[in-house]
Amino acid sequence: MSDKMKNIIDNQQKQQDEPDITNLDDVMQLVGFVVGDEEYTVPILTIQEIIKPIEFTRVPQTPDYVLGVFNLRGSVIPLIDLRMKFGLPSAKQTDEARYIVMKSGDEVAGFVIDRLTEAIRLKKSDIDPAPETASGEKSIIEGVGKQADRILTILKVDTLLERDF
């Protein structure tokens, strides 16, 4: 684990050292994670905390991607399985699985992800709006970030936290 941390820190350091990122306002910090086979990112400021999976309680009469609620230091918070939300078959949680607790305004919810990848700094100019087919009111994609070797999907946290049942 500490190796990975070091890796991440190194990566961040590298990104920080990159000369082209000068003005903080032009930079977006993202946290990357994997759900199924895809990597997604969310803006770092929407993340309240990331915790290891803990026990949760099922809530009846909810769609299957709402796993239930869990106790986060005295607050009762909904837990949503992103795999199921994205229509992927559910799989066994591995040791790398985490709950990402995201918030927007007063809304807080935990999301189950398969594993974390890294924190990423991206120039705003490298972020394109969501492709036409995936945009619109209900889209959960905020935009697409371009990096040298890959494309990052940035999720719209507001929509994720919106109740859609």
């Binding site: 026990e55 949760f56 309680t57 099922r58 809530v59 009846p60 009469q61 909810t62 709402v66 239930g68 609620v69 869990f70 106790n71 005295g74 607050s75 009762v76 918070i77 909904p78 066994k92 007063d106 809304e107 807080v108 919810a109 936290l161 109740r163």
Partner: protein, 791 residues
């Protein structure tokens, strides 16, 4: 501007407080017009509001209060008698003042509020009408107070013409009395002041009266001014009683923002959860380190903390408590108005107004009570003629009583009116399509009474101002449900109707009954739990696709909590099952659960916007073990139960056990922290050919079990292990219904009798002490998994 706002706030708070007492005082005053203390108090309110509002430039309010003050001042000085008609005007002006204060609160100005001219003119008329008559040098003669009281009562039901006649009669009576008295005095040798003039005075006024508003001259004949000079014995008594009340309100108080109290209450809630958790941990520690010295100390600390927490909780709850008298206060006035409006004679008897309950509940309880009392006045108490015909006293009585009962407050509203007729109610309900005839046939009297709470139901033939729209009692039901209260209604034809509201004392921290359904737990507010019964499964009958059971002489509809909450029925509940009988507002239902866990204090937490308003779930709470438990919304549950299709209340266990064909189909878990021990066990069991899975401690074992990758047939459990020991592990496993019958075999070097006993207590079936022979272990395992084939 801010400063002004601050002053305005203070002004409003003060005014509302003053007015609250005012209604009560005014009605009381009407009954005891001689009570100077009371009059002064009322005058002071008008005066205070006038002073403050003029300072704040609320001209309209000032004008209104000024005129009120004039009238009251005259009454105070004894120049005016407050008759019911004058009271009508005064009360109306006070209503107006209230409305205006509300208007000011909402808009910050009194401009554009209701038109007061009408009332002002009437108030003026009272003032001037009286001053037109030459100020009366008070006759020394004191008329008996009795006629006044009598008058008082009569007025409230008379038409204007009757009042005229009554005035005439009373005048005559008084004159006669005075004459007699004067004669008596003259006889006694006393100097009599120019009495005849005085007697004539009201008579003169009498003549033009019919043209004027009757309100103006009505006061003239009555003589209470005298009370001021020479209090009659009865008046004295009143005055003596009065000071007791103000004294009580002079207690030392601080005004605190309710939000601060709410915040405090939230913090206490957290503390209560912490306490629950602490107690749970203490229990666990006690189990693990039995007999250790530090346990004693820990125990002491835990009990002190839990004691103080409970006290603190009660103390904070008390700060939020208000006497229910605050709500009751408005009813004498309401009854007075209603009885005048309906032409009935109704007396209100209030009891237990000092009973306290949470502020949030006090706010909610007002409306239902208004509706119930209006109903009692309109439908309950009969018109005077009917009452006389039935041989009852002319005056109907409505009783309003509050008292504590355990963690509840009970409010009883009784009237001695015509009562409820179950058959009539059923007929009306059928004709209004509220129920079907079949349903009606199955209904007992008590159930029929509850029909009045159905929306759209009304027994009134015509819709009146007061009631009959079929809305009021529905409001009662909704509000009481919101408070988790219970409504009980009882009645006897031509004798009485009694409505009992049972409401929990507080909303934030509640007592709950924890129940288990399969592997899940739910908390049911104890306020709604009437009783729990253990029944055998063949006591459940199915009637018209609904499960029901017979509970004493009632038929109780049943619903399985697992059906409501879509819990997978993985396990058969056995021959017996538990039924929690829930009561809410007027209805009852039995809920089948698998286990009763116990009673716990819980704090309601919201589940956030995302999961808000889920059917059947009122919220969540955090248990002693840190887990989240959902709280059952009893009202919603009852709704859901209605639409639920009846399934066989106890379903078959659907666990598809795979047929074991070869020894390796059997799975045995070995739980031991020592790798050597695990290897020894593995080697010993190898000849059996069963599949062996290893776990290094209780937590790991539990996780493997929960993951459900294998169906285990037996577990070998070491007792001494890090993280979770064997006893705790066994306890955890036995919590799961589906592992209830999983054989747990202790393999340990702990050999004392106490250890063995504990093993049995937590549900271990065998107890193997180390060291053991491989054959012995093999045989024990073989026996427990019913392995008959050879490898």
């Amino acid at each position: 501007m801010d400063e002004f706002q601050e002053i305005l706030q203070d002004f409003l708070v003060e005014s509302f407080e003053l007015i609250e007492q005012l209604d009560q005082d005014l009605v009381e005053l009407e009954n005891t017009p001689e009570d100077l203390e009371l009059l002064n108090r009322i005058f002071r309110v008008a005066h205070t509001v006038k002073g403050a509002s003029s300072f704040l430039n609320f001209d309209i309010l000032t004008r209104l209060t000024h005129h009120m003050e004039d009238v009251l001042n005259r009454a105070r000085k004894g120049e005016l008698v407050l008759t019911p008609d004058i009271m009508d005007v005064v009360l109306k002006s006070i209503d107006m003042m209230k409305a205006m204060l509300h208007f000011i609160r909402d808009n910050g100005t009194d401009e554009g509020s209701d038109d007061i001219e009408d009332v002002v003119v009437k108030l003026d008329a009272i003032t001037s009408g009286e001053s037109a008559s030459p100020s009366t040098p008070e006759p020394e003669a004191t008329p008996e107070p009795e006629p006044i009281v009598e008058e008082e009562v009569d007025y409230s039901d008379m038409s204007e013409g009757e009042i005229e006649d009554e005035i005439e009669r009373l005048l005559q009576m008084r004159q006669d009395e005075d004459k007699a008295r004067r004669v008596a005095k003259i006889e006694a040798g006393e100097a009599v002041p120019d009495a005849p003039e005085i007697i004539d005075e009201p008579a003169k006024e009498e003549a033009p009266a019919p043209k004027e508003e009757p309100k103006v001259e009505a006061p003239a004949p009555t003589p209470p001014p005298v009370a001021e000079k020479k209090p009659t014995p009865s008046a004295k008594k009143e005055v003596a009683k009065a000071p007791a009340k103000p004294a009580a309100s002079v207690e030392q108080t601080i005004r605190v923002d309710v939000r601060r109290l709410d915040h405090l209450m939230n913090l206490i809630g957290e503390l209560v959860l912490g306490k629950n958790r602490l107690i749970k941990i203490n229990d666990d520690v006690e189990e693990r380190y039995e007999g250790e010295e530090f346990l004693e100390e820990l125990n002491q600390v835990v009990s002190i903390v839990s004691l103080v927490t409970t006290d603190l909780q009660i103390a904070v709850m008390k700060t939020r408590m208000l006497p229910i008298g605050k709500v009751f206060n408005k009813f004498p006035r309401m009854i007075r108005d209603l009885s005048r409006e309906l032409g009935k004679k109704i007396e209100l008897e209030i009891g237990g107004e000092e009973t306290e309950l949470d502020k949030s509940i006090v706010e909610e309880i007002g409306d239902p009570l208004v509706h119930i009392i209006r109903n009692s006045c309109d439908h309950g108490v009969e018109p005077i003629a009917d009452r006389i015909a039935k041989g009852k006293s002319e005056t109907g009585t409505i009783g309003l009583k509050a008292y504590n009962e355990g963690n509840h407050i009970v409010i009883e509203i009784t009237d001695d009116g015509k009562g409820l007729d179950a058959n009539v109610l059923k007929d009306i309900a059928i004709s209004k399509n509220v129920i079907t005839e079949k349903e009606a046939d199955n209904m007992g009297d008590k159930e029929a009474f509850t029909l009045i709470f159905r929306p759209g139901f009304s027994t009134a033939k015509t819709v009146t101002n007061v009631s009959g729209r079929g809305v009021g009692m529905d409001v009662v039901k909704t509000n009481i449900e919101k408070l988790n209260g219970i409504i009980d209604i009882d009645s006897e034809i031509d004798a009485y109707t009694k409505i009992k509201l049972k409401i929990p004392l507080t909303l934030a921290i509640i007592q709950a009954l924890l129940v288990g359904v399969q592997e899940e737990y739910y908390a049911i507010p104890l306020a709604s739990v009437l009783e729990t019964v253990r029944i055998s499964t063949d006591e459940v009958y199915t009637v018209e696709n609904r499960s029901v059971m017979r509970l004493r002489d009632e038929v109780l509809p049943l619903v399985h909590l697992a059906d409501i909450f879509e819990v997978d029925r993985v396990f058969d509940g056995g021959e017996h099952t538990y039924v929690v009988v829930l009561g809410l507002a007027e209805s009852k239902i039995g809920v089948i659960v698998d286990t009763l866990v116990g009673q716990e204090e819980i704090v309601i937490k919201s589940m956030g916007e995302y999961l808000k308003g889920m059917d059947g779930v009122a919220g969540a709470t955090i248990r002693g073990d840190g887990g989240v438990t959902l709280i059952v919304d009893v009202a919603a549950l009852m709704q859901m139960a209605k639409s639920l299709k009846a399934k066989p209340a106890i379903a078959q266990a659907a666990s598809a056990t795979k047929v074991k064909e070869k020894p390796s189909d059997y799975h045995v878990m070995i739980v031991d922290d020592s790798k050597t021990d695990r290897s020894i066990m593995k080697n010993a069991l190898k000849p059996l050919g069963v599949t062996l899975i290893e776990a290094a401690d209780g937590v790991e074992a539990l996780n493997i079990l929960k993951a459900g990758d294998h169906q285990f047939d037996a577990m070998l459990v070491d007792i001494e292990m890090p993280r979770m020991d064997g006893y705790s592990l066994a306890g955890e496993i036995k919590k799961y219904n589906k592992y209830k019958n999983l054989p747990l075999i202790a393999v340990t070097s702990r050999t004392t009798k106490a250890d063995r006993m504990r093993g049995v207590e937590v549900g271990m079936v065998e107890y193997i002490t180390k060291p053991y022979s491989p054959e012995y272990l093999m045989n024990v395992v073989k026996r427990n998994i019913n392995l008959t084939m050879e490898a």
